[in-house]
């Protein structure tokens, strides 16, 4: 196809948008709304996953060794723990460290602990990579010779996994559902345009236009609607995210501030939000158009 013909067809597509401006406006509006909800749902899923991962990192298994375990053996146990699957970070807490910790906790009453320096068992704080496998990992840790007992917050882990799964499946479910709604919206817009221009299409067929030639303006129209909706929605989503982050910062809540570091930062993601929304617009516009034009090409 010649460049001039391609330019002509693009102009025809944009002209169609002007000719059906009310429908175009309505489609951009509905599509933008769908994309905004999709974008917010996607960011929410990613953020909640990040928070859950962050909390999971805090979710340690405490591995207590028998008091009679000597330092050499304790070091060996550390190596055995590190060699286990699903083990992330491993931190050694010696008998003296444990005593010091207790001393700090009982500040002002330190003399009560005199003579008990060796009473606290050495331990390891072990983080897991996959929270879902924490039970399995715990069993392996318990089986190590020299390990007296472990403390694993299984309930908390299960709650975390439940939240993560609910948010992931629910969130992506919403994203997929709204994606389908967007497809239907754009498909109907193009269907109406095609219907309004069915006579023109039949003339085009009679004078020898190829199907590609006939389809292209509709693709231009569908994709342009998708791109505009993508740009508008990404602007709204980024704006809303910026305001939400500001709101959280201004809460001055220690717990919230602790979580803020694990959330996605707008300066790191705005580009992906814009590109993602525009690409989504192009895909939705393209697929929606393809499904609408076919019927009227059978002349």
């Amino acid at each position: 196809m010649r460049l001039s013909s391609f330019g002509y067809l693009c102009k025809q597509g944009w002209k169609n948008m002007g000719a059906n401006r009310l429908m175009t406006f309505a489609s951009i509006g509905v599509l933008t709304a769908c994309f905004i909800i999709t974008g917010i749902a996607a960011l929410l899923v990613l953020d909640i996953n990040a928070v859950v991962d962050h909390l999971a990192d805090q979710n340690e298994i405490a591995v207590y060794l028998y008091p009679e375990v000597e330092d050499d053996r304790a070091e060996q146990i550390g190596n055995e723990i590190r060699a286990l699957p699903n083990v992330g970070e491993v931190e050694y807490v010696s008998k003296l460290d444990a005593f010091g910790k207790m001393e700090r906790m009982m500040e002002g009453y330190g003399n009560l602990l005199d003579g008990f320096e060796q009473i606290f068992p050495a331990s390891y704080n072990v983080t897991v990579e996959d929270l879902g496998l924490i039970g399995e990992t715990n069993q392996r840790l318990e089986a190590i010779d020299g390990v007296e007992r472990t403390y694993v917050p299984v309930d908390l882990a299960e709650i975390m996994i439940t939240i993560k799964n609910a948010v992931t499946y629910g969130g992506w479910g919403i994203v997929i559902l709204l994606g389908l709604v967007s497809l239907i919206v754009i498909s109907n817009t193009i269907r109406l345009t095609v219907f309004a221009r069915r006579r023109e299409i039949s003339i085009m067929k009679y004078v020898g236009a190829t199907n590609t030639f006939i389809r292209l303006p509709f693709f231009v129209e569908g994709m342009t609607v998708g791109i505009i909706a993508g740009l508008l929605s990404s602007g709204v989503v980024c704006g809303a995210y910026y305001l939400a982050m500001n709101f959280l910062h201004e809460m001055y809540n220690v717990w919230v501030l602790g979580l803020l570091d694990s959330l996605l930062r707008l300066e790191d993601i705005w580009y992906f939000v814009v590109v993602g929304a525009v690409v989504l617009g192009v895909i939705v516009g393209g697929i929606g158009t393809a499904s609408s034009v076919k019927k009227h090409l059978k002349v």
């Binding site: 196809m1 001039s4 006579r199 067929k205 004078v207 020898g208 236009a209 030639f213 002349v299």
Partner: protein, 239 residues
């Protein structure tokens, strides 16, 4: 008026060999049609409503496919033509319809240029060719007029200009005078005759018997899906 059965010319542009067309539901539109239309002929296809004229046209345009038999247009067997090649077949056929089929939002120039644009012709060529063709049909001064601003005869001239713009070897006119006044009908027929004089094969499908007798050299009559007469008229009205 002397008449004789036509014998096809050596250079055949349209050929129907034992063509049968049955629509889904069992409606038989054409049954065993045999005919040949040669290069440079001016042929009227006559028949009342439902006789099979539209199906005859649809088969030539490859809008429909024959149930059996063979349709050859410009040397191409249309039963073997691939779907993607149909547009290229149609570029060799100028088609004029009873209802003009002009695009209301485009002026006369744009309507004619449209037929060139859809076939990827460069803009420079379009700007040269369209005024020339509009001049041929006597509409040089109406290039910027919208279809609504033109009379029925003028609209049909625009449609004719659109059909002519590719200089096709065959012009097919489906009831070209059906929507215009009798005086303007004569003008349109004279234009078609002039086009035929330069070697273009012209096939006019109509139910207007008088018009056919006045202008045609050959009249093919279809009735109930059969060719019931194929007559050569000696000396149609001179142009």
């Amino acid at each position: 008026m002397a008449r004789k059965t036509i014998v096809s010319s050596s250079s055949v542009m349209i050929q129907f060999s034992n063509v049968k067309k049955v629509y889904p539901g069992g409606n038989v539109a054409l049954q065993g049609v045999n005919l040949e239309i040669g290069r440079g002929e001016f042929v009227f296809v006559l028949g009342h409503s439902g006789a099979g004229k539209s199906t005859f046209l649809k088969l030539i345009l490859r809008e429909e496919v024959a149930t059996s038999g063979k349709v050859v247009v410009g040397g191409r067997d249309l039963s073997k033509i691939r779907r993607k090649d149909i547009p290229y077949l149609r570029r060799g056929l100028g088609v004029v319809f009873q209802d003009f089929r002009l695009i209301p939002s485009m002026n006369a120039f744009e309507n004619v240029a449209f037929a060139m644009r859809v076939t990827n012709i460069p803009e420079k060529e379009i700007k040269k060719r369209v005024p020339y063709v509009l001049n041929l049909v006597g509409l040089a001064g109406k290039a910027r007029s919208l279809p609504d601003e033109l009379s029925g005869g003028e609209q049909q001239r625009v449609a004719l200009a659109r059909a002519l713009v590719h200089s096709p070897p065959i012009i097919i006119a489906d009831e070209p005078t059906g929507n215009i006044d009798p005086e303007l009908s004569v003008e349109i027929m004279e234009l078609l005759k002039a086009i035929n004089m330069v070697g273009t094969t012209v096939v006019v499908v109509t139910h207007e018997h008088e018009l056919a007798q006045r202008f045609s050299e050959r009249i093919i009559t279809i009735d109930h899906g059969n060719v019931v007469a194929d007559d050569m008229q000696i000396g149609g009205e001179a142009f």
